[in-house]
């Protein structure tokens, strides 16, 4: 340390993983030839001393536990017989002895393996065999807890930063949505801080494009997938325009497969089999025509005056997966929306959430019930009611997946021609 320049000396603490040596406190210790009277004297002097190590020629050979020692010495004639004898009589001859360099993880496993004794009496710390001090179970637990918290903190900070990036990526779409459709609302809730669900909105003078998608995985791997899927979708929109959702799905399918090497037949075992489920559509307010293409996700439509929600099922084919053919083509389904119709799309996070008295999935039926019950409300109110219904359903169960759902109401009055 001394050769470090003085100006850095105080401000650059070296990071080092804690080890057994850090657990060790200096305690009084006995030389092997010292007497039990001396042991008694030390224990009386240091009231909080749980155990007293015994050293022979600088090397630890045992540990005297206070309670055992006291109870033995209080028996009849023990004082008279053992008082002047050396202190190994009531000593534990096989305490846990660890090297000061031993890592905390190994030390913890060793201590647990050794049993209660090592936790209550403590363990002896030695350096190259020479006695250094004693470490205690409680202190070890404190360090383990701190270490655990520090590791969690580090991972969480990293993920929180990732979340900033993911949210920034999604923000442009939110802005596009606000611009495109006033009567619309979106809920995006990753199960963890980042997630595998994403959405994309693109506004054009004659209409707008929407996609709600669920990439495989959640958390960090899911978020990686959203970046891949979202950027390939962006490219596809640049290339083909936003008016043909089926073509966009086909294009994203090819891009993901190429990018992740998920080409069937090219390699026996591709490293990954990832992709996404998606619901996407192009909507023209002037004609109220909605062109939908779905990959394992459906579209829910409730027209004014209709009793039931119409479910427009997407194709049962995910985007990008190994078993989705490279040249698979999705097809568009055209839905003519009646004025004031509600349109709702969701990822499976809502449908599959486990809850209720029997711990079963929320299901499409309950989604339809909420849509029907909230049909007079705004999309934002409907979504809030959907969130509440899900929360009630979920109760004390864990959230199982990321959640994204989107609702809008088709214009009641046909908008005038766009300038």
């Amino acid at each position: 340390m001394s050769e470090l320049p003085a100006y850095l000396h105080d401000c650059r603490p070296r990071f080092r993983q804690p080890s057994a040596g850090d657990m060790c406190t200096e305690v009084p210790f006995m030389a092997v030839e010292e007497t039990n009277e001396k042991v008694m004297e030390i224990f009386s002097e240091h009231k909080d001393l749980i155990s007293l190590p015994v050293v022979e020629g600088g090397r630890p050979i045992g540990l005297i536990n206070r309670d055992i020692f006291m109870s033995e010495m209080s028996k009849p004639y023990r004082w008279e017989i053992y008082g002047r004898k050396n202190c190994i009589a009531f000593m534990d001859k096989a305490p846990l002895i660890v090297d000061a360099e031993m890592g905390i993880e190994e030390l913890t496993f060793k201590t647990v393996e050794y049993g209660e004794k090592a936790l209550s009496d403590g363990f002896i710390v030695a350096r190259e065999g020479a006695f250094v001090g004693v470490g205690h179970g409680l202190q070890l637990m404190r360090v383990v807890a701190e270490l655990q918290a520090a590791r969690n903190r580090q991972v969480m900070h990293s993920i929180e930063y990732a979340s900033v990036i993911q949210r920034s990526m999604l923000r442009a779409s939110r802005d596009a949505l606000v611009q495109a459709q006033a009567d619309a609302d979106l809920v995006w809730e990753p199960r963890d801080v980042v997630g595998g669900d994403f959405y994309q909105f693109t506004a054009m003078p004659d209409g707008w494009f929407a996609m709600v998608a669920d990439c495989t995985g959640h958390g960090v791997p899911g978020a990686f997938m959203t970046l891949i899927a979202s950027s390939t979708l962006g490219k596809a929109i640049e290339q083909y325009g936003p008016r043909d959702p089926a073509q966009l799905l086909s294009s994203v399918n090819r891009s993901i497969k190429q990018m992740l090497g998920q080409m069937d037949g090219q390699d026996d075992t591709p490293g990954s089999d990832d992709g996404m489920d998606a619901a996407c559509f192009w909507y023209q307010p002037a004609t109220r025509e909605l062109r939908f293409a779905g990959a394992n996700l459906s579209l829910f439509v409730l027209a004014p005056g209709e009793q039931a929600v119409q479910v427009v099922a997407g194709e049962r084919k995910g985007v990008g997966y190994v078993d989705s053919d490279f040249d698979h083509t999705w097809t568009n389904q055209t839905v003519a929306l009646a004025p004031g119709s509600l349109v709702f799309v969701t990822t499976d996070g809502l449908i599959d959430q486990v809850g209720g008295p029997k711990a079963i999935t929320f299901g499409k039926r309950r989604i339809q019930e909420v849509i029907v019950a909230q049909r007079e409300q705004t999309p934002a109110q409907l979504n809030a009611a959907m969130q509440q219904a899900l929360q009630d359903w979920q109760g004390s169960h864990q959230r199982r997946d990321d959640l994204t759902f989107f609702c809008f109401r088709a214009q009641v009055h046909t908008p005038g021609p766009t300038p």
């Binding site: 995985g217 958390g219 995910g318 499976d348 029997k358 079963i360 929320f362 299901g363 997946d401």
Partner: protein
């Protein structure tokens, strides 16, 4: 070969493959952090077992209350292996269990039934207690 038993966790199902009795069972929920890692070895052992069987009656029971999208892929792979074994001359019965009110799980079973016709699919709607 040895039977395969993996105890359940909150996010992974109980796997009870009694290869010596030709009964395979999967119960619980499935959303492990890495579904490919969890199912990789299971599928390998299943494949080895099925490869060595002919003219056998194999009973499979699946009772899953939840599975995420990665697990769904793995389930398809698993049932795909069973289907291959059925096409190779074994009689494979797939008992699919779902709560009578759980449409989501029921519908997934129906998809498996439609996709893998070589397997004898038996739907069990479990009544609430």
């Amino acid at each position: 070969m040895d039977n395969l038993y993996i105890p359940p966790t909150p996010s992974s199902p109980e796997v009870d493959f009694k290869f010596d009795e030709n009964t395979l069972s999967l119960r619980g929920e499935s959303y492990p952090e890495n579904a490919a890692a969890f199912y990789g070895d299971i599928l390998r052992q299943l494949q080895a077992y099925l490869g060595a069987r002919s003219d056998q009656k194999i009973q499979v029971s699946i009772a899953l209350a939840y599975f995420n999208s990665s697990s769904t892929k793995m389930l398809f792979n698993l049932v795909g292996l069973l289907s291959d074994a059925a096409e190779a001359g074994n009689q494979v019965v797939l008992n699919w269990f779902h709560d009578e009110e759980d449409d989501t799980i029921f519908e997934f079973g129906q998809e498996l039934k439609d996709d893998f016709t070589a397997i004898q699919f038996v739907n069990h709607a479990v009544k609430s207690a």
